[in-house]
Symmetry: C2
Subunit: 323 residues, 2 copies
Amino acid sequence: MTTTWDFGVSHELDLVERRIRDSLASEEPLLTEIAQYVITSGGKRIRPVVTLLAFKAAGGEDIERAVDIAAALELIHSATLIHDDINDGGTERRGRPAAFLKYGLQEALVTGDFLFTRAFRIGGKFDDDIVDLTAKVCAALAEGEIRQKRHLGDVTVTRETYLDIITRKTATPVATAARVGALVGRGRAEHVDAAGEYGLNLGIAFQIVDDILDVVGDGVTLGKRPGMDIKEGNVTILSINALQDGNVSDRSELIRILRKRTKDWGEVQTALRMIRESGSVDRAREEARAFGERAVAALGALPDGEPRRKMADLVEFVLSRDT
Amino acid sequence: MTTTWDFGVSHELDLVERRIRDSLASEEPLLTEIAQYVITSGGKRIRPVVTLLAFKAAGGEDIERAVDIAAALELIHSATLIHDDINDGGTERRGRPAAFLKYGLQEALVTGDFLFTRAFRIGGKFDDDIVDLTAKVCAALAEGEIRQKRHLGDVTVTRETYLDIITRKTATPVATAARVGALVGRGRAEHVDAAGEYGLNLGIAFQIVDDILDVVGDGVTLGKRPGMDIKEGNVTILSINALQDGNVSDRSELIRILRKRTKDWGEVQTALRMIRESGSVDRAREEARAFGERAVAALGALPDGEPRRKMADLVEFVLSRDT
């Protein structure tokens, strides 16, 4: 992580990175190259940190197994990033061109499949309950993607639908990362559930902050142009808040822009400005913090100690991040 | 199978179909719909037949496990078909529009991911050696797809490269279907190897026949327009034979057409005619038969009996099919 935050698992994270890198070998060098391009692009590695901390908090000892499953989940995450970029027509990811733009759609699509495969090669060796969780997270991702697509440009999207979509696309993966960490650590059932509850709320907070950054963020530190959600038609908590309760200067103009299939960057800027001025950002920050607090509250059921304290730190990190 | 051939596993095949159908349930109805559209499109179900027969030939008893793994492999196959169609820009598959044309690229892409997930949910519950084989077959498919793409319109492709590509894309999946059938049937190591050798050669024969049908087939029974390989730039054993040893009326014209990035259907017809007249089809039929004979020879190491005889019948079926 490119941060001064220390969650006490940097050595184990290095092992995860190595495990991922080792799994990318292929007889087709281009597959390895594209996979490395995506995976080494400096992601936040939130999920592996969560897995490792939940593993430790649950009293886990055989770190190799936690490293393996964390690597598998991160491979799945990378696979979905590649496919999502194709789906969204995303142009940049962490300051670099999306894989499909650099290498071609077909090459990127196949590399995504390849990464899924490598993930399951690792994940399939675990017990049935872990395989089930891993498969479910992928299904949730697919369902979330379809649901998001169905609601593109739909200004009637409710807060509930928004939460449903981000739960599937972001929070379930983090919850799963936490649950499998505790499971692999041979944690008791209530510890596994607490870890899952923590991860779910942390994941929702993470996504709300992500959506806030798309409205107020700085393109340079963000690594992508702000306003992409508006440009692509993703209705987020920011626009929902603005439309439902916000003090919007020209509500019908904001609706008109959000519903347009193709928007120019001038229109995106106009929408961003109206959303910022509506007070929607502050409300979203409060909501993110509320989910963060639920995540911290869930930690109460885990054994006290350094890992649990680091899990609380991670909530603060997620809430305060600006990239 | 839409044939009068009977391989003695129709009851078990029904169980595989049911297992596949049951696994397609999703909270997102569109995912289920697209998945069903692809899976119920009347594929030949060669791989499940191979798994079931190899299972029986190896003396397997717990048919549920063979059904499960056969379903998992067929789900993977369907996932790759969806993604391949996107990659190839394929317009029809078995007489119906490709899923991405009917439902949209993004929806189809995500459905492919969803099917992979469902496959691994089933497959991940098997022993490590079976998980490894399943993951390897997916990697081989990805590698084959990349390699094929790299050689599009490349008239210098050798017979070896062609065999390498079809081994990864078609024969390895059939070989894996056979190996896992024997493994799940708790067959001895030499039986597993024999089944794999059978499947590998059967798969190569199958693909050569497929490539022949693309040159001589009837669009109506084929369910897709003949000449697609030429149109898309896939160099097959038919064009390789024609260029290397065939009696081609206008070799430089054939090369010119094959190398063109975009060909009109008139050019495709011209190329098809030249390939047909070159004697290349008969040679390819001989080659397919040679691989078929190797498949039958491999059966010698399996216990004699009804399943083994049906495996030999399947070779004849594959060699004689016209759709």
